[in-house]
């Protein structure tokens, strides 16, 4: 029994074709929006490429760009088909293409669904990318006179100010790296020498943070150095002080920012997916209803349209059989090959004699 069988008269077919034509043009617009979103995300990721470890994070924007382009192409084409469906004579030229189009459309819809899922699922990959990138970025913060790294300090400072964050996981990350260049350290100073000697790797570590970690909401002037030393500052308790520096790490801040963008995009792509699915179902109904017209000479007559000719189970079985037969067709029969071989030999001998 056919799945979702519906009866159509001329008026209903025309209405369906017009509705689908309109929906297809809406989908073209949606495709442009998806393309723009992908481009926006790509630019946003490119902006912060200095604090990202590798290029795998560009999978989502690239997929969105591809979905956008394909949606425009597919739906513009479908729009033309639907427009021509109003006239059965014009529809004849599209008849052989519609089945192929619907098949490719179903693959495209599956692709859209996976892209929407990736928008939600690739958070983990982005997190590790950011963790590694920020770690490297902070490590090279001091290298302002090393070519290729000279803008790292500015990048990190601007990042911390814009996203109101400090360090990778928090401000304590700055205590574990040397973020002051040797160029600005007085090696004749006893304090500097002692600090370098007290460290295994010979690094100049301080319990201080760059100025960009300072929080303007703090009622007191910013304490950047000797952050963990209560006695170094009047009326100060390192444990309870919450407003002096940004408490949030930049990884969390950036992850929240990109996560928010990608979640919004994921929701939109899911809506596009539902819309595309409804268009495909509509187009399938239109195609079958036009094919099942009993008398092609009389376009006014009633016809039936369906999504699947048989039930889901039967369709699945027949598809499997088709695939199997395709597999068999590609195999070479061993017995036939043997017989063929003998015949050839005999013939060859005969020819020689």
């Amino acid at each position: 029994m056919a799945l979702l069988k519906l009866k159509f008269n001329q008026k209903k077919r025309v209405k369906l074709a017009q509705g689908l034509w309109l929906m297809n043009w809406f989908s073209v617009f949606a495709g442009i929006v998806v393309f723009s979103m992908g481009l926006f995300l790509k630019i946003e990721l490119r902006k912060r490429s200095d604090v990202m470890d590798n290029a795998e994070s560009h999978f989502v924007p690239n997929s969105l760009i591809l979905v956008g382009i394909l949606a425009c192409a597919f739906n513009a084409f479908a729009g033309k088909i639907c427009y021509d469906s109003l006239d059965p004579a014009k529809f004849v030229k599209w008849k052989p293409l519609v089945k192929v189009y619907l098949l490719s459309c179903s693959f495209f819809i599956i692709f859209i669904f996976f892209v929407a899922l990736f928008c939600f699922l690739l958070r983990g990959s982005l997190e590790s990318t950011l963790a590694q990138g920020l770690k490297s970025g902070m490590k090279f913060y001091r290298d302002t006179d090393t070519p290729g790294r000279c803008f790292m300090k500015k990048t990190i400072d601007l990042l911390q100010m814009e996203f109101k964050c400090c360090g990778n996981n928090g401000f304590r990350d700055w205590f574990e790296i040397q973020w002051i260049s040797n160029r600005y350290l007085d090696f004749s100073s006893k304090e500097v020498k002692d600090r370098i000697k007290s460290n295994v790797d010979g690094r100049y570590l301080v319990d201080g943070v760059p100025f960009s970690c300072c929080n303007p909401s703090s009622p007191r002037p910013c304490i950047q150095y000797q952050v963990s030393n209560n006695s170094a500052h009047y009326s100060y308790d390192f444990q309870t002080e919450e407003l002096n520096l940004w408490n949030r790490g930049c990884r969390e801040a950036l992850l929240k920012y990109y996560g928010g963008i990608m979640s919004s995009m994921g929701v939109f792509v899911l809506f596009v997916w539902l819309f595309e699915l409804s268009i495909m179902i509509g187009l399938r109904l239109l195609h079958t209803s036009l094919e099942s017209i009993a008398n092609p000479e009389d376009p006014e007559c009633e016809s039936e349209g369906w999504v699947l000719e048989k039930s889901l189970k039967d369709t699945f079985k027949s598809t499997l059989e088709n695939l199997k037969s395709m597999g068999k067709f590609n195999q070479v029969d061993a017995s036939a090959e043997g017989a063929e071989g003998e015949g050839a030999k005999t013939q060859a001998v005969t020819t020689v004699s």
Binding site: T144, D145, C150, K153, K154, D157, L158, M161, W179, I180, S181, R183, Y184, L185, D186, S189, P210, F211, S212, C214, P216, S217, S218, P219, R220, P221, C222, Q224, Y234, S235
Partner: protein, 363 residues
């Protein structure tokens, strides 16, 4: 002789009316744009009101807002008039309104020009307002525990970060004010006491700046304290160091920001003024052409339209005499009957006045 006299056919008059109808609707949109620009400028000024002294800085946005609203009303009415001008019968009801409408529109167009010019002349009062406002704000930077001033520190810090500036005229302004609250000063410390005693007003002054003055472009970690003391920092020269902190003062930065906004708004307003002027000219032509059609009595006939019925000099003289007469009319004459506007009214003889009355039917 009439100024800029043009001959109009019926088709030309209709076409002019239609074009003016469209232009009036475009002017309604431009009025909305003026209103939006005024509102935007008002919001931008309100945003930074904490660093501005109370002054007439709101005169420009208020002018733009009111001009925008009036533009919408006037041009909406103008559109209705122009739409009705295609029909001579409908025009009759607007005939009396047309001249006052044109006079009002002329005055209003002049107001737009004034608004446009004000956008360029506002710079000085804005500078004064910013100078005084920033001076007070910097003075109260430390008062984070005084109600009404507790957010000034955050405001100034955010301002310096956003506009990449430091102090009022420059970073040295911070050396002249106590910007560290007494609440965070250890009065038992010898250094603090010495610093307070060395100052006439008993203020704690340091050659340091808040963190928000730091420039991220600097290759070295930011130096905030002992800025003028070269020996306090390694490999540092206070006079040649340009990237450590922002050199530009916030007054200059904010002034540049607002000047750019107002210059853009000014150009837009002047373009709208030119547009309104062209609409006004068109409406004047339409009014005179339609009035002449009414005088001729044939709606299909050609008519002449002009901007001024007489030359500029004569029109000016006539207007002055009208104003003088208005002044005289408001005076009360000492001799009764003299200059009475109701005396010696000339009447026109329209022929037989005795019209036979109809007979009243008897019951």
């Amino acid at each position: 002789m009439a100024v800029l006299k043009v001959k109009f056919t019926k088709t030309k008059r209709d076409k002019l009316a239609q074009i003016l109808w469209i232009l009036n609707w475009v002017s309604v949109v431009s009025g909305a744009i003026l209103f939006s620009l005024g509102l935007f400028l008002k919001i931008e000024i309100r945003k930074r009101s904490e660093v501005m002294a109370k002054g007439d800085v709101n005169s420009v946005p208020n002018m733009l807002i009111s001009v925008g609203v009036i533009a919408c009303i006037i041009n909406f009415l103008g559109g209705k008039i122009c739409y009705d001008c295609t029909d001579i019968n409908k025009f009759n009801r607007w005939k009396m309104v047309m001249l006052p409408y044109i006079v009002c529109t002329f005055c209003f167009t002049f107001c737009i020009l004034v608004g446009g010019i004000m956008c360029y002349t506002m710079r000085n009062e804005l500078e004064e307002s910013l100078y005084l406002g920033l001076r007070d704000a910097i003075k109260f930077y430390k008062d984070t525990d005084i109600p009404g001033r507790c957010f000034l520190k955050k405001t100034i810090d955010a301002l310096q970060i956003r506009f990449q500036c430091c102090g009022n005229n420059g970073f040295r302004d911070w050396f002249e004010v106590q910007w560290v609250s007494v609440r965070y000063l250890d009065m038992a410390s010898r250094d603090v006491l010495d610093r307070l005693k060395s100052n006439v007003d008993g203020k704690f002054l340091v050659d340091g700046v808040p963190f928000s003055c730091c420039n991220p472009n600097s290759p070295r970690p930011c130096i905030q304290y002992q800025l003028t003391n070269n020996s306090a920092h390694y490999n540092y020269d206070f006079l040649t160091e340009e990237l450590n902190i922002w050199i530009k003062g916030c007054r200059e930065a904010l002034l540049d920001y607002y000047t750019d906004i107002m210059r853009s708004i000014g150009i837009t307003v002047l373009i709208i003024w030119c547009f309104e002027l062209s609409v006004l000219t068109g409406v004047r032509y339409l009014q005179t052409a339609m009035s002449n059609v009414l005088l001729l009595g044939d709606p299909q006939s050609d008519s002449e339209g002009w901007l001024l019925e007489n030359s500029f000099v004569e029109t000016a003289k006539y207007n002055i005499s009208v104003i003088k007469n208005l002044g005289k009319a408001n005076q009360i004459s000492s001799v009764s009957g003299i200059n009475d506007p109701n005396m010696n009214v000339q009447t026109v003889n329209y022929g037989q006045e005795t019209v036979p009355t109809k007979s009243i039917p008897t019951t």
